[in-house]
């Protein structure tokens, strides 16, 4: 298809490079530098989608970030982007896009029936229609809404593209490269400030690209190119295009998304698709410009109705005509610039101006060009369904209430201009309370909240001369504050056409007997009648009206609709706009892809994986791993066809009968050093620590101030002022912070230092009746007899030349030792243990067997110390000193904690000795009792006892100490199980603790 609407020799696209692309499966051509929108319009295509609620045909309305209609789904290099704006996405060879929100096709859309049922879709229709019955929600209402509301279809595949994050600091961040952005950047950079200038579009210059002005004897485009070239050559300046500053956060932190590869067929090697910049700026100049406001009239959403500034930009930047019979409908001088541009390109426009008798340079120029102008004229309604074919126009009375002489004239597009709305989003996000400027009928930023200033048309300054002068001044002032330099550059002379006042009129009344839809929010299909209805129904606050009607709640955040909505509410309510106030602006200013927000933190990069130095050995020996916090630990070592149950049973049994070895590197380790270390531990732990001799370990429990158990572990006195503390794997980081808190803030007088040594040591627990024999072979020169190295003893030794620390501690309840070597020697240690242990039938055991062993013994772990238990509950009350004070002690006297029938740790055995009890089951007296069945407690951990070959569980139940011997029931509604059980002691195996001391 030929580009019938492309002008010759006009615009900035590269005519040398023709690019083919597909839209809804059909092939089209454009040029390098085109957006999807400009290329489609060049081909005469205006129908690109269907609206959200009524499925009315949608075309193009704008030319940039404000676009409410042309949201398409892009497939690029096997990845999918569900919601891209056709007005921003540049075309590349092979690009494929399709319309969204229409089925089966954009030309024949079944949902359009909603348009004929529109009396059933009034304001708040979601709230009114989809209320009852509740059971209808997820079966009927939700799928319907989802199907109807579907924008693009998100891909369910892993996104293989790369996204990066970058942290940057600068003196001055400038958000937009229009005249004010360029001028202030230039002034500040010349004065030595470190400047970042960010431009959302591919081309720099903003309004200078399309306005007919002269700066320092150059055209706007020439001046832009000169300034940008000079800025780029300066080492203190970063200039970025395709970069949108979308969020202004606390303490002058701004976030910008840079689209690095979106305009290319494929992301280049070593480059990301997008980069998210976190910029901490000393000062910010907001130069984000302004967005043209629509005028509101009947069927003003018909494809072919668009902003007049957009029509001008399509001509001047892309060399594309949006129509060949244009109607310009304006309440200010901006529409004339568009009309003049049409005329210069050989097209005859008609201007309808709502004003009765305005005069200015531009109007005179239009008259001199013989452009047809009708004053006091309005568009009543656009005609045509999929594209504007004609318009009903009328003369309007001076009070703007009556329409006369309604006639129909032919046209193929209607370019509207309802004056300009400053983009105050960033200023507002920074906390700046805006103020209403009556002269321009719009909000502008008020006093600076953070270190931000707004310049140019974003601040409501609409003449170029004033903009340039103000921006040069601000650029200098801000940089002077930071650099304290005084290099002031001279302000160039500006020549522009003077314009006159705009008309405050913006909404055309309905002619008698007509009920045209007049849209305010084009993306969410909110019409004038919806707002009127919401107000009749009693909604007053603008925030409520917004949520009830969904005005301004679509992905364009109401860039084109907000102010007209406010105007309407204030007109009906007989208030002025500032009394109505505006809704809150929140980041992001424009949609940001989730990939950019996530950055590189995907998959394994989202959280680090920690592996012990013995990891590769475990891998080679068929270990099946489990996540333990950030660590990967062997859960069991698979032999043959074994599953978890068989393997862990075999491993645990081998510990009880021979000897096993378990990788315990992951345990938290903290060095506690200093002359007051003993006193400190005495305050941290519940038991006594002052008399622990050098070379001995002790088991300790620490509480939070509220009396709840925080963690447990053994701590060993290595030398006079040096202790080696161990914590559980999960609590290691919290315990360190806890210790630092007390040392730095509560007891600074204690001379103690703590530091994490978790990663410095590799650990192996050797457990089982054969462990001493194994130790004798590993350390032939060491006395490892029960006298030489007794239970809770500590020795240093040599393991084939490697310095080793041996702690005789046991979690399994067997005779056991924990051996630590420096991490680098971990693999060597493990190999030696396995090698030498061969003759004693050594087997490695994983966390599952470890659990079995500790559960049988009634040793508590994380499932019992779950943040709800005090020492008594976990049967640790024997470790609570009555004599000394410690962290959390005072809480243990609270009445709830001293009541005699508190929950307490017990053992649970199924009566049939075969049915395993699911963890989390309730213990109840009568399983048939009326629901909710009063529960006595819950099962915290379950295993298959290898000692007795039957299931065994730990439970924490009410009045546990008096329940031993009782026959109760374990109930798991989740697993639909009721199991008769007997309550026994939690010390199921070796209750006297003989083995650990043997």
């Amino acid at each position: 298809m030929s580009q019938d609407f492309r002008l010759d020799n006009v615009g900035m696209v590269n005519r040398e490079k023709k690019i083919s692309f597909k839209f809804n499966g059909k092939k089209y051509f454009g040029f390098e530098g085109d957006t999807i929108a400009s290329a489609l319009i060049a081909n005469g295509v205006h129908l690109v989608g269907r609206s959200f609620k009524y499925h009315r045909p949608r075309g193009f309305f704008g030319v940039g970030v404000d676009e409410p209609y042309a949201i398409l789904q892009l497939d690029r290099n096997n990845e999918r982007d569900p919601n891209i704006r056709a007005t921003e996405q540049e075309i590349f060879e092979g690009l494929e896009v399709k319309s969204v929100n229409c089925w089966p096709s954009v030309n024949f859309d079944i949902g359009a029936i909603n348009n004929f049922l529109k009396m059933f879709f009034p304001a708040g229709f979601y709230y009114k229609t989809f209320m009852w019955p509740p059971s209808f929600w997820y079966k009927i209402y939700e799928p319907f809404i989802r199907m109807a509301a579907g924008f693009g279809e998100a891909s369910i595949k892993h996104d293989k593209e790369r996204y990066e994050h970058k942290y940057e600091y600068c003196d001055l961040l400038i958000t937009g490269s229009g005249p004010s952005g360029l001028a202030s950047a230039y002034a500040a950079a010349k004065n030595g400030a470190r400047v970042i200038l960010a431009e959302d579009k591919p081309r720099f210059g903003g309004s200078l690209l399309t306005s007919d002005v002269n700066i320092g004897n150059q055209t706007g485009v020439e001046w832009t190119e000169k300034i940008i070239a000079e800025l780029k050559s300066m080492p203190n300046v970063t200039v970025k295009n395709r970069s949108q500053v979308f969020g202004y956060y606390d303490h002058n932190m701004l976030v910008m998304s840079e689209r690095i590869s979106d305009h290319l067929p494929k992301t280049q090697k070593y480059l990301p698709k997008q980069r998210l910049w976190y910029i901490r700026a000393n000062e910010v100049l907001i130069s984000s410009g302004s967005i043209e406001r629509p005028l509101v009239f009947g069927n003003n959403d018909t494809p072919g109705v668009m902003l007049s500034s957009a029509a001008k930009e399509y001509m001047k930047v892309y060399g594309v005509l949006v129509g060949k019979k244009p109607l310009i409908f304006t309440n200010n001088d901006s529409g004339y610039e568009t009309a003049i541009e049409f005329k210069k390109n050989g097209v005859n426009p008609i201007i309808l101006d709502t004003r009765s008798n305005p005069s200015s340079d531009i109007i005179t120029e239009a008259k001199n060009l013989n452009i047809e102008i009708r004053f006091s004229y309005v568009v009543v309604a656009a005609k045509g369904y999929k594209k504007v074919k004609s318009a009903d126009i009328a003369k309007i009375s001076d009070d703007k209430k009556e329409l006369f002489n309604i006639e129909n004239i032919e046209c193929d597009c209607i370019c509207v201009s309802g004056f300009w709305t400053p983009s105050i989003h960033l200023a507002s996000q920074s906390g700046n309370k805006s103020k209403f400027n009556e002269k321009i009928d719009a909000f502008v930023p008020d006093k600076s909240k953070q270190k931000e200033n707004t310049i140019g048309s974003a601040n409501g300054i609409f003449t170029l001369e004033e903009t340039i002068k103000d921006a040069f001044d601000k650029g200098f002032d801000v940089s002077n504050k930071i650099t304290e330099k005084n290099n002031k550059v001279s302000v160039p002379t500006v020549v522009e056409k003077k314009s006159t006042d705009h008309d405050k009129f913006w909404c055309v009344p309905l002619p008698k007997g007509k009920s045209y839809k007049r849209f305010l929010d084009f993306q969410n299909d909110v019409a004038v009648s919806d707002i009127e209805l919401a107000l009749r129904e009693g909604f007053r606050s603008i925030e409520h009206v917004k949520r009830y009607t969904t005005l301004g709640m679509a992905t364009d955040q109401g860039k084109t609709s907000n102010l007209n909505g406010l105007q309407l509410v204030s007109d009906i309510e007989n208030k002025v706009v500032p009394q109505v106030g505006h809704t809150t602006f929140r980041p992001p200013y424009t949609p940001v892809s989730i990939g950019a927000i996530v950055g590189r933190e995907v998959g394994k990069h989202s959280k680090p994986t920690r592996k012990s130095p013995m990891h590769s050995w475990h891998e080679k020996n068929n270990a099946v791993f489990v996540d333990a916090g950030v660590w990967l630990r062997p859960r069991y070592y698979k032999q043959g066809n074994e599953g978890l149950f068989e393997a862990s049973k075999r491993e645990a049994k081998n510990v009880r009968q021979n000897v096993g070895v378990c990788d315990v590197t992951t345990l938290g380790k903290i060095d506690v050093k200093g002359p007051d270390a003993a006193e400190f531990l005495n305050r941290v732990y519940t038991n006594a620590w002052l008399k622990l001799p050098v070379g001995k370990a002790r088991y300790g429990v620490m509480l939070r101030e509220d009396g709840i158990v925080m963690d447990d572990g053994t701590t060993t006195r290595i030398s006079e002022n040096h202790y080696h503390m161990t914590t559980t794997t999960a609590q290691a980081a919290n315990v360190l912070s806890h210790l630092e808190y007390y040392l730095q803030l509560v007891w600074p007088e204690l001379n103690v230092n703590v530091v994490s040594t978790t990663e410095q040591w590799a650990g192996a627990a050797i457990a089982g009746p054969n462990s001493r024999k194994l130790l004798m072979k590993l350390f032939p020169n060491l006395d490892v007899s029960n006298e030489g190295l007794p239970f809770m003893g500590y020795k240093e030794a040599d393991l084939f030349g490697v310095p080793t620390k041996i702690y005789r501690i046991s979690f399994s309840g067997e005779l056991a030792y924990e051996i630590n070597v420096e991490s680098d020697n971990g693999y060597f240690m493990w190999k030696k243990i396995m090698e030498v242990g061969q003759e004693f039938q050594i087997q490695p055991y994983g966390t599952e067997a470890l659990s079995t062993l500790r559960i049988e013994m009634g040793h508590v772990a994380g499932s019992e110390l779950d943040g709800r238990t005090i020492p008594y509950d976990a049967s640790l009350e024997g470790l609570v000193s009555k004599k000394k004070d410690f962290i959390g002690k005072r809480s243990l006297n609270r009445s709830a904690f001293t009541s005699t029938d508190r929950e307490k740790l017990v053992g649970v055995v199924p009566i049939d000795k075969t049915t395993s009890i699911p963890e989390g089951s309730y213990i109840v007296k009568d399983p048939k009792a009326k629901l909710p069945n009063p529960k006595l407690g819950h099962v915290s951990a379950s295993c298959w006892s290898v000692e007795y070959d039957n299931p065994f569980s730990l439970a924490i139940i009410k009045d546990g100490k008096n329940m031993i011997g009782q026959k109760l029931f374990a109930m798991s509604p989740l697993k639909n199980k009721i199991i008769p059980v007997e309550i026994v002691s939690s010390h199921y195996v070796d209750p006297e603790g003989k083995r650990v001391r043997s």
């Binding site: 606390d250 509220d706 630092e740 600074p748 004070d885 005072r890």
Partner: protein, 89 residues
């Protein structure tokens, strides 16, 4: 994201810190007889003022020092930061 001036390290981003709650709470001395009420006040009761508030932050990904930060809870403005044992003005 807040920009916190660690008295040991200088200006650092909030994501290097962990929040540590009200810095004006004082732990009762060890071995001192106190009422249930006093102890409950220490363990559980916290003011949640709108406006100036002295709070603890822990520079966990930096120097690992606990610091005190005087911050406005509604505007996030930070007025001053102190070392753990510095006198509060």
């Amino acid at each position: 994201m807040l920009y916190i001036n660690c008295p040991h390290c200088g200006l650092r981003s909030q994501n290097e810190f962990a929040y540590g709650g009200d810095a004006t709470v004082k732990r009762p001395e060890l071995n001192k007889e106190i009422s249930d009420q006093e102890w409950d006040n220490f363990v559980y009761l916290r003011k949640s003022p709108r406006g100036k508030h002295l709070e603890l932050w822990h520079h966990i990904s930096g120097c690992r020092q606990w610091i005190k930060v005087e911050r406005d809870t509604s505007t996030h403005e930070i007025f001053k930061t102190y070392k753990a044992n510095e006198a509060i003005e």
